[in-house]
């Protein structure tokens, strides 16, 4: 056994890092991990600004410090229920969802500008939202 790599492999034996599986998992879950990280950093920022300890927050939520640390790691797939409870405890909104009516109007506006919506819907839209826009079909 002369080669250094042979000696290293013999010394490592069956000790192999599982990093490759973890990297694959990160790649597959990167979209929600980004949001989870941002939420965790928002919570850390609020705690620091408001001088609230992590212990106090975990106590007010009735969870263990270990569970709180999991959430603050930014690597947990938090449920909406959990996020809402934390928002309530902190008094800050952590995630925002588009108002369904605003979203609906945005799609109508998009169709009216493109001319694919009939003129009556666009006129009604103009009256309802109070826009002075002149749509192609109006």
């Amino acid at each position: 056994m002369n080669k250094i790599s042979d000696r290293l492999n013999a010394l490592a034996g069956s000790n192999r890092s599982s990093w490759f599986e973890r990297a694959k998992w990160l790649e597959e879950n990167q979209l929600w991990l980004k949001k989870s990280g941002d939420i965790a950093l928002d919570i850390m920022t609020i705690l620091r600004a408001k001088k609230i300890s992590k212990t106090k927050l975990s106590e007010s939520l009735g969870v263990s410090p270990q569970q709180m640390s999991k959430w603050l790691s930014g690597n947990e797939n938090m449920t909406l229920s959990t996020i809402c409870k934390i928002e309530e405890a902190l008094g800050y909104e952590l995630i925002q969802v588009t108002d369904p009516k605003e979203l609906e109007n945005a799609f109508i506006e998009e169709k009216c500008f493109s001319g694919s919506e009939d003129s009556s819907s666009c006129e009604m839209y103009t009256i309802v939202v109070g826009h002075n826009n002149t749509f192609k079909s109006a």
């Binding site: 790599s5 290293l8 000790n15 640390s69």
Partner: protein
């Protein structure tokens, strides 16, 4: 202490006594942990007053660390895929010697080198460092690392200790017969550069 294989026959990492994981895994998990990184950056916020960090808030740096850790792992993952296909990584081109003080013979690995980015062309901020002992051509053992916020590692609290850990790693490798007389002499020569 226990040795772990990262890339078979090229990259290894040490698990120190008292630690749960080897340094490679331990550091990547820390760098991806928002709570840890946020507290580290907040603790060392005065270092961000340097002109190098102009325009960066504490949270900017936290997000930079997490993003870099993410891409670091994906970059290594790509190298690992290439290895499976028979294209072995040129780690000698990716690890750089730590030149300062009496730390010759020790090396560092940064994310930009994994992706082959030319840091002389673009303003490339890389803050994550793996510290390693070179044991042979293209063969390294990772023994520490951390988040480097300053030009030299001595300026960032905790990093000198991480580099010093390489001394313990070297002793472990000698005690376990990884270095023979020839490459130990070569190693000592490099330390005296």
């Amino acid at each position: 202490m226990e040795l772990f294989s990262i890339f078979a026959s090229e990259l290894y990492s040490i698990k120190y006594d008292g630690e749960v994981e080897n340094e490679f895994d331990r550091l990547f998990k820390l760098w991806m942990n928002v709570e840890f990184v946020s507290e580290f950056i907040h603790r060392n916020a005065p270092l961000l007053k340097d002109k190098f960090w102009k325009g960066y808030s504490e949270n900017d740096v936290v997000m930079l660390v997490r993003n870099e850790a993410f891409h670091f792992q994906l970059g290594l993952s790509q190298l690992y895929h290439n290895t499976i296909k028979g294209n072995f990584p040129d780690f000698d081109n990716k690890f750089e010697p730590i030149h300062l003080g009496d730390t010759g013979g020790y090396y560092e690995l940064v994310e930009s080198e994994i992706h082959g980015a030319d840091r002389t062309v673009m303003p490339y901020r890389t803050v994550l460092r793996f510290y390693a002992v070179k044991v042979d051509a293209n063969t390294y053992v990772i023994g520490g690392g951390g988040i480097k916020l300053t030009k030299t590692y001595e300026g960032t609290p905790g990093l000198s200790k991480e580099v010093a850990k390489l001394g313990h790693l070297k002793q472990y490798l000698i005690a376990n017969g990884i270095f023979d007389k020839e490459n130990l002499r070569q190693f000592e020569d490099e330390q005296n550069i």
